[in-house]
Each structure stands twice: as structure tokens, then as C-alpha cells.
């Protein structure tokens, strides 16, 4: 299969950057999208050119590093799929494919397709955890959690922090990510002692990082590889209101 790639190349954070065309022959439909880029890079190295920089790690949809905007779709055309799990059979012979980095002020481009997403780490550091004393693991049955609650908290916890929600959102809002993290702990008894402090800290950090304001467009939910639901955003808003009455 032949493809026409149009890839964003940018030297560094402050260089202008531009699209460069690459023609790919012999793309196997069984390749993953990242393998296709590997093949491209091997070719570039052979020609003495600089390979295309892109983030990846686990290549099985669990780490959240792979982050590509493919033809305007965060993580490509498939729903509920990270870029690394996308296969070339989703494309047709002769297709042109535009590949860009996540575009958001809070995610500056490091090089080519790789972006700096440490803003998410700073949001997590502002409250996305529980403080417990270390020591022996407590007896599991001493805190009972209903099945539905556990499932729902687990669904929120499935967020891999990839940032596709920000990339897909016209406001570059990080609400889906933050709401998934807040929801995960707000639903479990272990998260309750720091509930108000957590949501306040994380939302304040989110705003300070320069992410936009959510306008409930739903683009994030549609792009999310882990199918994090908009209900989480509703819950985050509720948690913020609740925190007004708690100190």
C-alpha cells in the first residue's frame, strides 16, 4: 500500500516548524501506525536525514506517551484506540495522511511530533493522590466498597494521561483528564479525607498551566482512547461546588 504522508517538522520549541511531504511505498496493512513511522525513520537515517521525533513507550495502549493528531483526529480515526494500537489497515492505498503534534499552549512542542506534557504531572502533584502512612497493607475487608462504585472508580482510573482530550478540544481544556483523576478518588472512601483540597488544588493548577475553559463540547470524550466519559466532568464540577462548603 502506498501513502502520502504530510508530517509536521519542527527543530525545537521556538523554531517555526512546517509540514514536510514523505511518500511511503510498501506499507503493510498489518503494521501498526508507529511501525509505519519506524520504517519511515529507518529510511531517513539511511539517507542521512534526521528521523521524525515522536513519543512512544509501551505500544500497547497503557502508558499514554504516543500522541499524534492524524488527519485532525487525536489518536487517529478509530475510537477508543491509542495511536500505538492503530493499524494501517484502517487506511486505503493512496491515502494522504496528515500527522501533527498535539496543539495546545500548555503542551509546547519539544521537537517535531513530541510535546512537553509535564503540565499534567504538575496537576497530579497538586492533589491527584492520597496521603497514607506506609507500612503493612491494611486488611482488605476493613473498607468495603460496593461493586458498582468500584467499577465506576476503575473506569475513571483508566485514564492514561495522554492528553488527547486537550488536543481534540477547541479550548485546549484539560477538564476530561482532571475530572477522571478527581473522580477516581472522589468515588472511593480512601480519597475522601482530602476530597475538597484535591479538587481545589488540581483545578487551580489546571487553570494556572494555561489550559482553556471547558465548554462541554464533548470532543474530548470522542477522542479519548480510554473512553473516559463526560460524566466525570459533571462530577468534577459538582466536587468543586461541594468544596466551597468544605475547608
Amino acid at each position: 500500500m502506498k501513502l502520502k504522508l504530510k508530517i509536521w517538522r519542527q527543530e525545537g520549541p521556538s523554531s517555526p516548524g512546517k509540514f514536510v511531504d514523505y511518500d511511503m511505498d510498501h506499507v503493510s496493512p498489518d503494521m501498526s501506525f508507529l511501525e509505519m513511522l519506524d520504517v519511515l525513520n529507518v529510511g531517513l537515517v539511511k539517507k542521512g536525514e534526521t528521523p521524525v521525533e515522536f513519543d512512544h513507550d509501551c505500544r500497547e495502549g497503557i502508558c499514554g506517551s504516543c500522541a499524534l493528531m492524524i488527519n485532525g483526529n487525536a489518536h487517529g480515526p478509530e475510537t477508543g484506540t491509542a495511536t500505538c494500537q492503530l493499524h494501517m489497515r484502517r487506511f486505503k492505498d493512496g491515502d494522504s495522511v496528515i500527522i501533527e503534534p498535539w496543539r495546545a499552549k500548555a503542551f509546547p512542542v519539544i521537537k517535531d511530533l513530541a510535546t512537553d506534557r509535564t503540565a499534567f504531572d504538575r496537576i497530579m502533584a497538586a492533589g491527584g493522590f492520597i496521603s497514607t502512612n506506609t507500612g503493612n497493607a491494611p486488611e482488605a475487608n476493613s473498607i468495603l466498597i460496593g461493586h458498582d462504585t468500584a467499577e465506576s472508580a476503575m473506569d475513571s482510573a483508566a485514564c492514561i494521561g495522554c492528553g488527547a482530550c486537550v488536543a481534540a478540544c477547541k479550548n485546549s481544556s484539560a477538564m476530561l483528564f482532571v475530572s477522571a483523576k478527581v473522580s477516581h478518588l472522589a468515588q472511593l472512601p480512601q480519597g475522601h479525607p482530602e476530597r475538597a483540597k484535591r479538587v481545589r488544588g488540581m483545578v487551580t493548577q489546571m487553570d494556572n498551566e494555561g489550559f482553556g475553559n471547558c465548554s462541554n463540547t464533548g470532543a474530548c470524550e470522542a477522542a479519548c482512547p480510554k473512553e473516559i466519559k463526560l460524566e466525570n466532568i459533571t462530577r468534577l464540577n459538582r466536587e468543586m461546588v461541594r468544596a466551597v462548603f468544605k475547608d
Binding site: 480515526p77 496528515i98 487551580t204 470532543a219 463526560l230 466536587e239 468543586m240
Partner: protein, 223 residues
């Protein structure tokens, strides 16, 4: 107090205020639309309703409240929208090529439709509230003959056309805005089945109701 201040300064708190005022304004457009329908009962009913509404001193309070809601809604929403543009810096070079990955109907154009509604509201106030005063007397009470002015205006094709286009714009704004408010308030997600249906129904009802009057005025006015 400190936590309230933090809330109102945060993105979530400001969106909360946009939602509260948005729902307040939704209530206003709904009653306005219902009031318009009185025209089809009798011109007298329509004019008397207008007269009663404007002759109670409470009207000043209501108008002040309405104006405050408008200003808060617009001011905050525009401020948020400008911040969002800064946060975006540069969008992807194209919109999602797959339909499943696109955003909710109307949600991408809230600032634009909102500004258009504002322009409409200003011109609308000039044409009607501050428009020509015709007097009519029912049972010895003199009041404004708004019915005559409405019919007169809607006989003009250009005016009717502009009015209908504006109502379509309002429809798009409400189609997203009404249901989205519930999410901003932390009550229901916009994906909630009931809220979704309610949102569409509300937008259809209001815009549809506002459609009847100009169409009637244009085709049957004066006969």
C-alpha cells in the same frame, strides 16, 4: 469565604455562573415566546398582556435582573472564550476526519452565535421596545398597540427574513447551551439521555414558537 472566592475565580466557577445566567435567560426567552403567542388569541389579549407587564413597578426590578444576567453571561463567556483562544494558540490543520470524533452540534460556535444573538437583541429592542408608539383604547384604558407595530414590521420581507435567521441562530445557541448548562452546574452530563432530549426539545420549542409570529405577520398581516 476563601473557598468561595477561589471557586468564583476558577474556570469551573466562572462556567457555573455562565450556566446559571444562561438558564435564567433561557427562562426569559421561553416566557417571551409564550407571551408572543397571545397574539393568536386576540390582538386585545396581546396588548393587554404587554400593558399589564409594563405597568407594574416590578418591571424595573425584573428588567434590572435581566440586564444583570445578560451582562454576566456575556461578559464572562466572552472572557472565557478569549482565554480559550490563547490556550489553543494554534489548532490542528483540519477538523476531525471521522464523524465519531467530532464535537456536539453548535458547541463550536457558541461565541459567534452568542454575539449574533446580542446584535439581534439590540436591534429588536430598537424596533419594538423603543419603536413607534401606537395607542389603542380598550374599555377606556389607553395602552400601546404593539400588535399593530408587530404586524407592520413583519410585512417587510427583509425584516422578517432577518428575524427568522436570527431565530435559527438562537436555536443553534440553545441546542448546545441549554443542556450544557446542566453539566457546568454539576447536575447531569450532556450525554444523559433525558437532558439530551430536553435540550433539543427546548431549542425547538423556543425557536419554533418565535417562528410562528413573523410567518403569520408576513402572510396574513393586515387581512
Amino acid at each position: 469565604m476563601a473557598s468561595l472566592k477561589l471557586f468564583l475565580k476558577s474556570s469551573v466557577g466562572r462556567k457555573f455562573l455562565v450556566a446559571v445566567t444562561g438558564l435564567g435567560l433561557s427562562g426569559f426567552v421561553l416566557t417571551h415566546m409564550a407571551g408572543n403567542l397571545l397574539m393568536f388569541v386576540r390582538p386585545e389579549a396581546y396588548n393587554t398582556y404587554g400593558h399589564k407587564l409594563t405597568s407594574t413597578p416590578l418591571i424595573y426590578l425584573a428588567e434590572a435582573g435581566l440586564l444583570a444576567m445578560f451582562l454576566i453571561h456575556m461578559g464572562l463567556a466572552l472572557k472565557l472564550a478569549l482565554e480559550n483562544r490563547t490556550a489553543r494558540a494554534m489548532g490542528p490543520s483540519q477538523n476531525p476526519s471521522t464523524c465519531e470524533k467530532s464535537a456536539r452540534f453548535g458547541s463550536q460556535y457558541m461565541a459567534l452565535t452568542g454575539v449574533l444573538v446580542l446584535v439581534f437583541v439590540i436591534l429588536h429592542l430598537i424596533s419594538f421596545k423603543y419603536g413607534t408608539y401606537y395607542a389603542v383604547t380598550y374599555n377606556g384604558v389607553e395602552m400601546r398597540d404593539l400588535h399593530r407595530l408587530v404586524i407592520e414590521k413583519f410585512k417587510l420581507p427583509l425584516y422578517t427574513g432577518w428575524y427568522l435567521v436570527s431565530m435559527l441562530v438562537l436555536f443553534v445557541h440553545l441546542a448546545h447551551g441549554f443542556s450544557a448548562s446542566f453539566q457546568s452546574l454539576g447536575l447531569f452530563s450532556v450525554r444523559n439521555c433525558l437532558i439530551k432530549k430536553l435540550g433539543w426539545a427546548f431549542a425547538f420549542l423556543v425557536a419554533g414558537g418565535f417562528f410562528i409570529q413573523p410567518i403569520y405577520g408576513y402572510f396574513y398581516g393586515g387581512n
